[in-house]
Symmetry: C2
Subunit: 463 residues, 2 copies
């Protein structure tokens, strides 16, 4: 990791959080519930495998509920297991919606200790600070733990905030089955579990309707690791997030003809996997072409899942399937990339004598965060982070405006209520890997900005 | 299918088999034990899923033993479940080894009714004809059902003839686990079954040593569908097989770095699956280059199995694995193709910042069949198949010399005892697929040639 730049700012008026308590809460909960994939000697040097609604997720959810209850919060669980903790404010207005903080406690199968977890535990530290220091907020302040943000076990990303936002039907989420890989891990290979079955099994199938009208918000602030290399490369402390790029997920299925690998001449083959491999390579070409077309180098295409049937070494596959994850901050460019992909794939299919089908698994327009929330984050950042002195001795602004490359629950919230995000430095830009890392100093600065943004937004409310 | 050419030959002196009985035995046994993948209305229009040592395989093995016992055969089962049926001949010499026919009764997961099955049931029909017509052979005549030729469930192709031939250690075969796909089918996902466990379960773990010295052969003749398009395209009835091309199986593993699909810029990625896709495409390029270099268009490369880890749509895979099946009739050219593949893959790995490892799963030199056996097949063919009149009205020789594209149990036998094969027409050249087909007429001609070859070889024995 590049040596951390020095923050020259003298802190302002926002109450100070207990930084060590925040860091301890991250590691003790990770080590108790879902640590996996050790990569170093120190006790903190493991990744995580806390898949949505498994036993580890169930245990950290119960711990979360105990902690916020001890801070005077009421906890509501909705029909998709979202946990809403709310601490009352001064106002007696029963209709005053809370200013929420929120993120998720589930991880990828080979995930790290910060993606999502930092946002929830920074929110918890903020609530603890408010309680300890007897801070009276105008309106209620809350903290949400969103269910199955990762879509790693149940392949529906930001699933439960999507249901809450009306983007995904409740039945669709409930009936989503765990992936074959997950089913094998949990001994459900014969009968993969559904979201609803697992919500019931772990006791988090709430009866509050999973909708934004039942659980309204005044605003939603999410602290999250950048998951990219920009802040680290530029040696900045904080990213003030203006929005998130759009992304679309597709499952592409290629159908050819199975035949014997040893006896079928090359020119008579209809090899579904060979065509799929050509498509995966072509998809990367489309991404490079798009990225090269703009100075910001925007636009990515990724294939993360692939399979071939019947799946024996000496049979030319009759069917191959793979996923496409296509992203761009501009709806227009995202659509243009998908068109380019379809054009390339159709050409490859014709040349190879195979058929290609597309199923859209998820289509998410870019999110432009609410100016009031972005302003609150900017003011809190200005207080916490001034200029920084880089490792090269250069003095520069310690923060930058940034766009999110990933989708987040905040994008679903932003469809109905003001939302924005705060990014912290991510070592080597890596996440969704056990070595994902954000330094204690950077976690603490981020949490401080989160608290500052919430208190500012609350202070400006008319109640 | 092209209309079958007319065979002008008047049959000779070889006893006539009961063709209808042969065809009935194929369909009744397929329909009783393992039929799957219906593709048409007629009762015969399904493929097969009779995986080695499953319950269907167990039942057809018991049926096989009953049939040959009823013909006066003794049946020996060895340590890997090979079934050797032997009918005594005139000679009283206890050391006279049998002239065997043989093939296999197991199929691919999406297999057909002819690959292997035709060879065993044609042998059974030959034994029935010998018994019915009171034919007294000089030496004993036998029929072998080789275990797990396909390697579809237990990924070790021609497994049991390989153990018998001393190519594969007994322990290696016994400890081979079923593939994850097969384990899921049989409800063993938690604990995939081994060959030895399944041999015990179905009662075919014999105590006769699985070695060619314990079960010697005077010769081995195998009737098999061509599994390729050559005989059909040239409108010939029979292929007199001179040998089988060599083949090598590899598992290639590519290791990169997992990272978030949305936030990781293209230029910082180490995408294991993208590199694997480039390698699969490059492997096909190596095959085309080799094939184009000779007029016979020899040399094929196939990838039938692929996977990526961790296997979520929004994570760049840290690891990708795939199989390579590389074939050529020349050992030198096969080695040259493998070298070319390794060179290409190393270059791709360096360019992509990933690592690539190779594991050789199977390496089989080309087989050149024994001249005495090939001569016996040629004589029997000359008797059964003269000139044919093609659909275009052209009169031509009804047979051709041919090389096998696939590996067969006969290749293992040929390492120790004289062996050869007889090929029949395969519709559209397709096998390892449910629509695999050989017409009744072609099955019958093939079985007639098999019997003719066995009787000729026997007649020339000095006993």
């Amino acid at each position: 990791m590049t040596s951390s730049p020095t923050n020259t700012r003298q802190y302002g008026t926002t109450p100070r959080i207990n930084g060590q308590r925040l860091i301890d809460s991250i590691h003790t909960t990770c080590e108790a519930w879902g640590q996996a994939h050790r990569y170093g000697e120190h006790h903190t040097e493991t990744g995580m495998a806390r898949l949505a609604l498994d036993d580890n997720d169930a245990q950290v959810r119960r711990w979360f509920a105990e902690q916020v209850t001890a801070l005077g919060c009421t906890v509501t669980v909705d029909q998709v297991g979202n946990q809403f903790a709310v601490r009352p404010g001064k106002s007696s207005d029963p209709n005053a919606a809370p200013v929420y903080m929120g993120s998720h406690l589930d991880t990828q199968a080979t995930g790290g200790r910060y993606d999502g977890i930092l946002g929830v535990l920074a929110g918890l530290e903020a609530l603890r600070t408010i309680q300890e220091q007897g801070i009276e907020t105008k309106g209620p302040v809350g903290l949400v733990n969103w269910t199955n943000e990762e879509g790693a076990r149940f392949p529906l990303i930001t699933m439960a905030s999507g249901v809450w936002a009306g983007v995904t039907p409740l039945e669709t989420a409930w009936n989503t089955q765990e992936t074959p890989a997950a089913a094998a891990i949990y001994g459900n290979a014969d009968k993969p579990a559904t979201v609803k079955e697992e919500l019931e099994r772990i006791g988090f199938l709430g009866d509050t309707p999973a909708t934004h009208t039942a659980m309204p918000m005044a605003a939603h602030f999410e602290l999250h690791i950048e998951q990219g290399p920009i802040l680290e490369a530029e040696q900045r402390k904080i990213g003030v997030v203006e929005g998130a790029q759009g992304y679309a997920w597709y499952e592409v299925t290629v159908r050819g003809k199975d035949a014997h690998a040893g006896t079928t001449p090359l020119h008579t083959r209809k090899d579904a996997l060979l065509a799929a491999a050509q498509m995966i390579v072509a998809g990367n070409g489309v991404a490079h072409a798009e990225s090269a077309s703009t100075p910001e180098k925007k636009g990515v295409v990724t294939t993360g899942v692939v399979s071939a049937m019947p799946g024996t070494p000496n049979t030319i596959p009759h069917t191959a399937s793979f996923t496409l994850d296509v992203r761009h901050p501009s709806s227009e460019r995202l659509a243009a990339m998908v068109s380019a992909l379809k054009k390339e794939y159709t050409a490859i299919a014709e040349k190879s004598g195979v058929e290609v089908d597309w199923v859209c698994l998820s289509d998410n327009a870019p999110a432009v965060f609410h100016p009031d929330c972005v302003a609150a984050v900017q003011e809190a950042t200005d207080e916490e982070v001034g200029t920084v002195t880089t490792s090269d001795g250069i003095t520069q602004q310690g923060w930058r405006r940034i766009w999110s490359g990933a989708g987040h629950d905040s994008c679903n919230v932003n469809k109905h209520y003001p939302a924005s995000m705060i990014f912290t430095v991510t070592k080597d830009g890596l996440s969704h890997t056990p070595v994902e890392y954000c330094s204690p100093e950077d976690c603490i600065v981020g949490a401080q900005v989160l608290l500052g943004a919430v208190l500012r937004f609350d202070a400006k409310r008319e109640l």
